[in-house]
């Protein structure tokens, strides 16, 4: 049991979390009766995928992927070493001289991809909410079984 925990669960716990979250969302999407609850389920489903992607780019002990342009960290290190000219402490210290070590910075690509995915999710949620409003205006109810009864029972036009 402890071995299962250590070998399977611990290095992959972020993946287990996203799968559980996604299944909660999928269950809500299918099983709930109220249309708004289905939408919330859809939103949880999309958020779980976003969580998955962002957890891909995590590196241990790494900082955010934003460089320090004025070289303040470099400035401090150079002063500690006793650098000579002012020019060496200036802000173009990155060009050609020292690129950041990839292992100390988190991977920026999943963040970029998920910016797009979040925006797409919001847009879809907006459109789905407007359709839900139209349904409420037409049928007077947001419960799926009541709507299906109205549709099957008395629809004359289409």
């Amino acid at each position: 049991m402890a071995e299962f925990f250590e070998q399977t669960l611990q290095p992959h716990f972020n993946f287990w979390i996203y799968v559980i979250l996604m299944m909660i969302g999928l269950w809500a999407l299918i099983a709930k009766n109220n249309l708004i609850k289905k939408l919330i389920g859809m939103s949880i489903f999309q958020t779980a995928i976003i969580l998955f992607y962002v957890s891909l780019g995590v590196k241990e002990d790494a900082t955010i992927p934003i460089l320090d342009p004025y070289g303040q960290a470099e400035h401090a290190a150079a002063e500690a070493e006793g650098a000579e000219t002012e020019g060496e402490k200036k802000r173009d210290s990155y060009i050609g001289k020292k690129s950041p070590d990839p292992d100390t910075m988190a991977n920026p690509l999943p963040h970029v991809l998920m910016l797009t995915a979040i925006v797409v999710g919001v847009a879809t949620l907006g459109v789905a909410l407007s359709i839900a409003q139209m349904i409420f205006k037409e049928f007077g109810s947001l419960e799926e079984d009541e709507i299906l009864e109205i549709v099957k029972g008395g629809s004359v036009d289409d």
């Binding site: 399977t8 290095p11 992959h12 716990f13 972020n14 993946f15 287990w16 799968v19 559980i20 996604m22 299944m23 999928l26 269950w27 299918i30 099983a31 009766n33 957890s55 891909l56 780019g57 995590v58 590196k59 241990e60 790494a62 955010i64 992927p65 934003i66 460089l67 320090d68 342009p69 990155y94 060009i95 050609g96 690129s99 950041p100 990839p102 292992d103 910075m105 991977n107 920026p108 690509l109 999943p110 963040h111 970029v112 910016l115 797009t116 925006v119 797409v120 919001v122 847009a123 879809t124 907006g126 459109v127 909410l129 407007s130 359709i131 409003q133 139209m134 205006k137 079984d145």
Partner: protein, 263 residues
């Protein structure tokens, strides 16, 4: 109600099982040498290129912004198009016939922002907050190169400043400041700015969105600074579109498309 529950449980169990089956092959959480973070034999790692060389290419310290607006700028343009399409779709779905063409009726007198004093605390607070929010939004847009921020984030905050007027006094007050015809035009202008930058690069004999060739027009001292400035330009375009459409979504959803009463 029995049937959807059984079907839901089966679907969830099968899907969860399939997903978890694939998890066992994955690299561990936080591994800096996983294929996503470092190179796989036989190819050069894309994310390591971004971390080590993107400042040299674009002079933008925020690596996420430089990837978003330059290397993958085509995706960002379509993301903006997605928001625009959502705004259009919401009006197309909800817009009631004659909602836009009939004149709006002034109901009980001017709203708080324009003189009515029946909602003092909420009204005053929000009225004082709006310029602060807007300045902060412009800061977020402009400072996206140096700190987390950018066009999308700043655009949403700017839209929030209009929504707060609508929430604290009246949807009419907000619509008087950003009317329906104008917000659609603002959204189109935003995307035209983005695509315009790209087409300008095409006119100058390069590929779409290749900002380096804009150096003679932008009068910078190197193609890298031209990239940096063009990134700011397209982020402004994105901010216009996002502001307009987020406010449009709020206005249409809260008034069920009539743009009359609102919350």
């Amino acid at each position: 109600m029995r049937l959807p529950n059984m079907f839901a449980i089966i679907a969830v169990v099968i899907t969860g099982g399939i997903l978890l089956y694939g998890v066992s092959d994955f690299p561990s959480f936080g591994d800096p040498k996983s294929p996503a973070n470092a190179a796989v034999p036989g190819s050069e790692s894309v994310s390591q290129y971004f971390i080590t060389k993107s400042y040299k290419d674009t002079k933008v310290p925020n690596l996420v912004t430089s990837v978003l607006a330059d290397y993958r700028g085509y995706d960002t343009m379509f993301e903006t198009v997605v928001i625009f399409a959502a705004g259009m779709a919401i009006f197309a779905i909800l817009g009631s016939v004659g909602g836009g063409s009939q004149p709006r009726v002034q109901e009980e007198g001017p709203s708080f922002v324009d003189g009515d004093h029946s909602r003092i605390i909420v009204g005053t607070t929000c009225r004082l907050l709006v310029p602060v929010i807007q300045v902060f939004a412009l800061y977020v847009i402009g400072h996206g190169h140096y700190s987390p921020g950018g066009g999308f984030q700043g655009g949403v905050i700017l839209a929030a400043s209009f929504i707060i007027i609508a929430l604290s006094s009246d949807l009419d007050a907000a619509l008087r400041r950003l009317s329906e015809v104008n917000y659609l035009r603002l959204a189109c202008v935003g995307i035209l700015i983005y695509a315009g930058f790209g087409v300008l690069c095409q006119v100058l004999e390069s590929n779409f969105l290749d900002y380096g060739v804009l150096q003679p027009i932008l009068l910078t001292d190197g193609p890298e600074m031209a990239r940096s400035h063009s990134m700011l330009g397209v982020e402004i375009g994105v901010a216009f579109t996002v502001t307009a459409i987020m406010f449009a979504i709020y206005a249409n959803l809260s008034s069920r498309g009539t743009l009359r009463d609102g919350l």
